[in-house]
Symmetry: C2
Subunit: 226 residues, 2 copies
Amino acid sequence: MTDALDTIAQLYINDGLTDEQIEQQIAVYQPLSEDIRELILLAIQTKADGPAVAEARRHLAAAREILERDRETGPYGTRFNDSGRFRNWGNAAMGLRNPLAALHHIEEGPDGVRADFELNAAYEGPAGHTHGGVSALILDQILGDAVRSAGYPGMTGTLTVRYRRRIPLGPLRAEAKLDRVEGRKAFAVGHIADSDGICVEAEGIFIAPKWMIEQRDSFDERPRPQ
Amino acid sequence: MTDALDTIAQLYINDGLTDEQIEQQIAVYQPLSEDIRELILLAIQTKADGPAVAEARRHLAAAREILERDRETGPYGTRFNDSGRFRNWGNAAMGLRNPLAALHHIEEGPDGVRADFELNAAYEGPAGHTHGGVSALILDQILGDAVRSAGYPGMTGTLTVRYRRRIPLGPLRAEAKLDRVEGRKAFAVGHIADSDGICVEAEGIFIAPKWMIEQRDSFDERPRPQ
């Protein structure tokens, strides 16, 4: 436990970038992730035959060779700068550089957080529908954002997801808010809805490790992603 | 509810492929997905500068143009053939053609199911660690596989995930088994462990829609993916 948290603290670093440098990185790397997101979908949907796929793979290998020339090898971690901009760009649910991430913008308001997003065929579980586990991933992220946004950042202790009905693919909205706080535990509730209403709801208990509380208190602004 | 289930049933189809054709598709499309999986990681890890990324993106656009010439546009669904081979190749957790999928082989035994897998930096949540929601996605899949493997396929009703400690990235094992059955509800339990033991555990309630029971009974063999 302690080792794991030490590792997190090590990857929670001020990398000293200026805001301008961060904007430059967004301009370079966000379109790259969008390209790869489209390729994920094509990996599932293409009907190209063997020779055509071989030709496409030669282009992918060329792209890979270029991108590999100068690369990191470990996880992205959480990076921030002196102006308090946080970047979880590798995050599997909402990382700006992660082509897996389903969430692109999480809106924080006085009553909680919400995100409008669209799931394509890469997020399928039951035929033609969103994978129940993908909705759990999104709910884990947005419930965690709700407690952080309310001033009680923590890591998931327990997540309970209740499926009212099948979740379609396509446009969806996730919403979450802080329910209550007990000591170091923050309780959040939330759901994912389509245009007909709630499909799946969740409650989560988030627990703040001490280093996170200390880290938080060392800034004027609360940590917020990106 | 009925509409959603009708849609699932529509996408649960016998496409008449021979086993040989299925093997040919695996040989063509699995390496493509592996290439794109590596590009996902590079999207997060590359330090290539603007001109180099632009050059890489030209190659990605060329690959995309080839793969788009002949493509499907909707979800993959669940496809099967006369010999009873099922393919959920678009599945977000274990689809053979889905570069998002973390699970590549799920082993079914008399005491349940298990999967050895490895999570790279694309599955990150807390700095340097597996996203809690990714573990929920994997647990949803493997608990569902456990009830299906035991003869009680169903869709997730409730999933409860308890995090004992942070989940590292790297090699992990997921295990799950049927706990008990009550009417159309099958209860499963499972966990994800690293080399030091269990990191996160889950219990799930899976409910069988009627069409799924009918579909199941129409085969000699129970539906099994791939």
